[in-house]
């Protein structure tokens, strides 16, 4: 049985994800902090992305850099570790955008299981709204570009019928 994953927009500036993993915090923390392990789960097949490289210097002030295959250029996600408390807490910046969120992950062990809470804090309500809108209307835009093309095609065939 898979444990439940929940997501919530906790406030105007915060997104929170929670999940319980069936294992001690020590091992869950290891899977978040060793690049060869993180690589195996961070990019599930269903999201259709290819991770080209993953470098992580897990200590306060250390950097990380994940590079994905992109079209035409590879896309890099990078930032710095702000807090590293073994087995209980990780915090990093997301510096690929000037108003990237600060991500804090906590690991709470109880009875051999670990509750993981991923907390993203955005600099303002507007930035989080825009992140949501750009992706949701982003999908929209693509659909309506297709619709535009369809309308042009239909218009053209209607024109032919008339003539």
């Amino acid at each position: 049985m898979k444990n439940q994953t929940t997501t919530e927009r906790k406030s105007e500036r915060e997104l929170v994800v929670t999940r319980t993993i069936n294992g001690p915090a020590r091992l869950v923390f290891e899977a978040w902090t060793k690049p060869e392990l993180l690589k195996r789960w961070w990019v599930p097949k269903s999201i259709g992305l290819t991770l080209l490289s993953c470098e992580m210097d897990v200590r306060v002030g250390g950097g990380y850099r994940l590079v994905f295959a992109g079209n035409p250029e590879p896309i890099a996600f990078f930032g710095k570790y702000l807090e590293v408390t073994p087995h209980s807490r990780l915090c990093w910046s997301n510096d690929e955008s000037p108003d990237g969120a600060i991500t804090t992950v906590t690991f709470e062990e109880s009875g051999g299981k670990t509750r993981v809470v991923v907390h993203d804090l955005y600099p303002s309500k507007e930035v989080l709204d825009a992140a949501i809108a750009s992706e949701s209307t982003g999908g929209f835009t693509e659909q309506f570009e297709q619709l535009d093309e369809l309308l042009v095609t239909l218009g053209a065939s209607a024109g032919r019928l008339e003539s």
């Binding site: 927009r9 999940r19 789960w41 999201i47 993981v116 709204d129 825009a130 949701s136 209307t137 619709l147």
Partner: protein, 125 residues
Amino acid sequence: MVQYNSSRVNASFAALSDATRRGVLEQLGRADASITDLADKFHMTLTGMKKHVGVLEHAGLVTTEKVGRVRTCKLGPRQLEEEAAWIERYRQLWAARFDELDKVVEELKRREKADERRKKKRADP
């Protein structure tokens, strides 16, 4: 009911078939705005913008509220459904990630147990 749905869909199609109206939705996704703001941003007359907003409002994509002399526009209930849909997609991404993490942690657990058994064996006389 069917009638209502198809007329709603038609209204959305009509509302979204116009580039300016799509731009207005993107703009309102960033922040609420008055009709005057929108008219300025899209270089249009107030009357022209009022018509566009009217079409979006009719399709349920935008709601407006008049406070004093200013009419403020914001994303309507259908756009809020978009936010809920986004959060659900975000949840699915993380659920897929955590499913893979489960497997990694399972493997680490197995490895640890095997190591312990080996150590015990070595410690045995």
